[in-house]
């Protein structure tokens, strides 16, 4: 509390940029980072938080100091704004990072479960921001439900299965090489839900896995639960958009490129069915918005 008093004193004369950094400034910067570590805290609800955010934006020296504190703690600053607050996230190998083994115990033993949990997070993001415009638009709020995410992935799996069937491929995996099984089959094979004694979803079912992901993201301040329909409905927060856009999306893309997979799209159209350009021209004539 003593820092707080000192800070009020130094705040009054509005320190010039050239002034040396005082311990009080460092304490303020650290407090701002500490607010950032409480992702569910709304900046608008806390006057001190709002004040520190304002200072970050108006005082470059203070901003540099706060950034340095965050970096030193092993955090990455995504954005500092009234809507997202001090949006920080864990750098790789930071003490704040979430590890898959801590997230779900079975994932260490079972590679299939590990994939399912990861895919659930990816699918939640993809359904929260179905179009690239949604991810780019700062005002966009995505809405997802547990059952919706499961249905979305199943649909995608089904499309792959149908395409393989059309080409006469046999997609059944070879028995002795589990690592070579196509990823979509793992999700398609797992049951969506199941009856249990206490009327809860089985944790190993796909809706159970999705529900866990959504609950976890809610704890991270990325989602807000809005209702119970469709297995639980959620809406996205500004932080989630930042996290997916600036961190997760690019990291996963980099990994995918390293595997030699280069997804070819024209950069704007999303979730379009595979069709040739003739169809797209027809659509344009019909006045329908398929040709983005």
């Amino acid at each position: 509390m003593s820092e707080h008093v000192e800070w009020s004193d130094t705040e009054a004369p509005a320190p010039p940029a050239t002034a040396a950094v005082t311990p009080a400034d460092a304490a303020d910067a650290a407090r701002l980072v500490a607010y950032g570590l409480q992702p569910k805290l709304q900046p608008a609800r806390d006057q001190d938080y709002t004040e520190l955010l304002r200072r970050y934006r108006e005082d470059p020296a203070f901003a540099r100091l706060a950034d340095a504190v965050a970096t030193g703690l092993g955090l990455v600053v995504l954005e500092v704004s009234p809507r997202a607050g001090m949006a920080v996230t864990a750098a790789e190998d930071s003490v704040f990072a979430v590890r898959m083994g801590d997230y779900a115990r079975r994932t260490t033993a079972d590679s299939g479960d590990r994939f399912l949990h990861g895919l659930a997070h990816l699918a939640v993001a993809a359904l929260s921001f179905p179009r690239p415009e949604d991810l780019a638009d700062d005002g966009y709020i995505g809405r997802v439900t547990v059952n919706g995410v499961d249905a979305f992935v199943r649909q995608a799996c089904r499309r792959i299965e149908e395409r393989a069937e059309e080409q006469g491929e046999n997609t059944d995996p070879a028995t002795d090489a589990p690592g070579l099984e196509a990823a979509w089959r793992i999700w398609a094979r797992r049951s969506a839900t199941g009856a249990t004694k206490d009327a809860r979803r089985p944790a190993s079912s796909t809706t159970g896995i999705v529900a866990k992901a959504l609950a976890f993201l809610t704890d991270s301040g990325f989602l807000q639960r809005t209702g119970d329909d469709g297995g639980g409905t959620y809406r996205t927060t500004a932080r989630y958009q930042l996290q997916v856009r600036d961190m997760a999306g690019t990291a996963a893309m980099a990994e995918l490129l390293e595997l030699g997979v280069v997804p070819v799209t024209d950069g704007s159209a999303s979730l379009l069915p595979a069709e040739d350009t003739d169809d797209l021209e027809l659509v344009a004539d019909a006045g329908l918005p398929f040709h983005s």
Partner: protein
């Protein structure tokens, strides 16, 4: 240590050795049949394993119960949800009880649950089955493959409930028509049914009608999936050709089937009424129920199809006519989800791991002090009130009665309009009579009721078994009135044949 000489022929000899299989096409057909065969295995397996249950269960025909269970689930699958677990168990019990009438009812229920749980395969983490079969790959090597399938799957319903649905595999196994086109198979079943009825072979007709119903259910299931995709993203679905075609096709299908099944219904009703033999009568009555159920399902399908257009327009407004934002470059579905799913799981996991590591945010690590730990461990658990907190008495506020007319006024107006069936009256006369009562509002109510009667709800009155119905007809006479304008309606009371309608409904 001696070991046998390696029998593995090193590389497959493509040109020299004759191909072990006649060709990939034949092998594919074989694989398909092997998979079809595998779908029946869980049923055989039930009979093979019943001996290992604690108790004497060999009297029960488990495969029979299983097939009956699949039948029940298929028939109870509604458009949105599926069949209720408990309901299926309850409906299975009579058949099981018939197999061993002397056994206790608890045992019957146990058998029903055992069969149902085994069809879901509750014990496995995927809640499904796996069969292993072998095929020759294109290069002549022999590959063992896993075929994963489900017979009955559990799906989430509204309000967190769990419903049962039969899978396509199960429906195919059950109907016994593998690899067939839904539409054409249905037409075939219908034709067969008509022929059978014409020849008076009702037993076979019932079988065909039931098959037609399975097909109907399967058809709506296919459509349900397509509509769901539409709802999610307008662009995910081809709304120019594919979906409108599909909807048009489905509507044609519904119209066609509706006509067809109504014709069948008329035929069977005739058969039911004309036949002398009680067994035939009973079968025909059952058939009437089945066909009625088919018609109900078609109607349900049709209402869904009609909702599709407005749904598309609403979604299009939302998704397409917003101001275009700058593209961020990452299309999560197109760039990540779609390419990841076909990858081998070992590689796909690397991508999802990367997404997980960077997409979950942060957790502040928990630091424990020994002193706190001791305190926490020594704190006695808080006694929880068994009944929870006391409910506050709700403070109810009476909503003001803002009705335009009072109950008394309505009663007076109804009395005025309770005309004899053979003496309709002009609205002008009724209005004059209403004014004579001295209540200035009564005339308005009478006029309102008369206008309502211009389009009477005949269907509702029919369903509710009303005996009479108020109607109003415009014969072109102008209404000459200081307060109202329009036509001087002829208001009358029509008598409805309530008894006849009730008999017709029961038919």
């Amino acid at each position: 240590m001696t070991s046998p000489a390696p029998t593995e022929p090193a590389p497959p000899q493509l040109s020299a050795a004759p191909r072990p299989a006649p060709g990939p096409a034949a092998d594919e057909g074989l694989a398909r049949r092997l998979r079809a065969l595998a779908c029946t295995a869980p049923l055989h397996d039930l009979d093979a394993r019943k001996g290992s249950l604690a108790g004497e269960y060999s009297v029960y025909g488990m495969a029979e119960v299983a097939l009956a269970a699949i039948d029940l689930v298929t028939l109870n699958m509604d458009f949105d949800t599926g069949a209720d677990h408990e309901q299926i168990v309850a409906r299975l019990i009579p058949r099981i009880a018939a197999q061993a009438p002397r056994r206790p009812a608890a045992e019957h229920e146990r058998v029903a649950r055992w069969v149902l749980e085994n069809l879901i395969n509750v014990g496995s983490v995927d809640r499904g089955f796996r069969a292993v079969y072998g095929t020759f790959a294109a290069d002549g090597t022999y590959v063992r493959r896993d075929y994963d399938f489900k017979l009955i799957e559990e799906v989430p319903g509204p309000g967190g409930t769990v419903y049962l649905r039969t899978t396509d595999e199960a429906v195919n196994v059950l109907v016994g028509a593998l690899d067939t086109d839904v539409t054409s198979a249905q037409i075939a079943a219908e034709v067969k049914l008509e022929v059978l009825i014409n020849r008076g072979r009702l037993a076979d007709a019932q079988l065909a009608a039931e098959q037609a119903r399975y097909r109907t259910v399967q058809y709506s299931e296919t459509l349900r999936r397509a509509l769901e995709a539409t709802r999610r993203n307008v662009r995910a679905v081809d709304w120019l050709n594919a979906v409108p075609d599909m909807i048009a096709e489905a509507l044609d299908h519904v119209a066609d089937r509706y006509r067809h099944e109504n014709a069948i219904l008329t035929n069977i009703r005739k058969a039911r009424d004309e036949t002398e033999e009680p067994e035939h009568k009973r079968r025909a009555a059952e058939l009437v129920d089945i066909v009625k159920d088919c018609i109900r399902r078609h109607t349900q399908l049709q209402s869904r199809l009609l909702e599709a257009g407005p749904l598309f327009r609403a979604e299009q407004d939302r998704q397409a006519f917003a101001t275009p934002a700058t593209a961020s470059g990452i299309d999560l579905y197109g760039h990540l989800v779609a390419p990841v799913l076909p990858l081998p799981v070992a590689e796909a996991t690397r991508v999802t791991d990367a997404f997980f590591a960077h997409g979950t945010g942060l957790r502040t690590p928990v630091a424990v002090r020994v002193a706190d730990l001791v305190d926490i461990l020594l704190t006695p658990p808080v006694e929880r009130e068994h009944l929870g907190a006391e409910m506050p008495e709700p403070d109810l506020i009476a909503t003001p009665d803002d009705s335009r007319f009072s109950e008394e006024q309505l009663a007076a107006a109804m009395e005025l309009l309770d005309l004899p069936a053979d003496a309709p009256r002009r609205l002008s006369g009724l209005l004059a009579e209403a004014r004579r009562t001295g209540d200035p509002d009564l005339a308005y109510l009478v006029a309102l009721l008369a206008v309502h009667a211009a389009s009477p709800a005949v269907g509702t009155a029919y369903r509710q078994g009303e005996e009479k119905l108020l109607f109003a007809v415009d014969d072109g006479t102008e209404l000459d009135d200081p307060e109202f304008g329009g036509a001087d309606l002829i208001v009358g009371m029509a008598l409805l044949d309530a008894a006849g309608m009730a008999a017709d409904r029961a038919a």
